[in-house]
């Protein structure tokens, strides 16, 4: 089952910031693959959504980039800036709070570990 796209809306930046916090340094394509693996294919980030989002986070000063060449192919690594680390924490905390609220509101039976 792949989640309906509307469900994932608004969580993309949170996911990016969290992954970069855990992995120090990642490139775009790697992010899509990691998310796919970690969610058993349930969340599949599209490039059309991911790259503009990465650019926006960089423009906001939350990410820094390093470009490297693997053979002749370019690869652009993203890392959290100092501000990005703060924002990463805040975004995850906010989502966590939101999650609690939604569990209550929708009366969801949880089975989190």
């Amino acid at each position: 089952m792949i989640y309906s796209s509307e469900l994932i809306k608004g969580t993309l930046k949170t996911i990016i910031l969290k992954l970069l916090k855990d992995n120090k340094r990642m490139y775009g394509y790697e992010i899509t693959q990691t998310v796919k693996e970690l969610t058993a294919g349930k969340i599949q980030l599209t490039e059309g959504a991911l790259y503009p989002s990465l650019h926006a986070l960089e423009a906001d000063g939350l990410l820094t980039t390093e470009t490297e060449y693997i053979g002749k192919r370019v690869r652009k690594y993203y890392s959290l800036s100092q501000q990005g680390k703060i924002e990463s924490k805040q975004k995850v905390n906010e989502f966590s709070d939101f999650l609690n609220t939604m569990v209550y509101l929708l009366d969801i039976k949880t089975n989190f570990a």
Copy 2:
């Protein structure tokens, strides 16, 4: 704390369908107030989002309406259709699954009862 709007995006229809499942019959303004109360003000539905969403759900055949007059003021009650009941369950289940995935992906420490 009020959640950043992007976080709530995509959850509006799920919230509406769930509330109508629990309450049989509600009108728009009542929905905004109920959500506000149940979430301690953290989710405040705007009318500009709610009414078009209700109209869309009705157009999709998920909701039925009855108009009543309270004094001279009109009040439009919404109820789930048969299809709406099915969709309500599915939406909540999907969202529940999504939350589980996000808890794992974001490594969130939960404190549900």
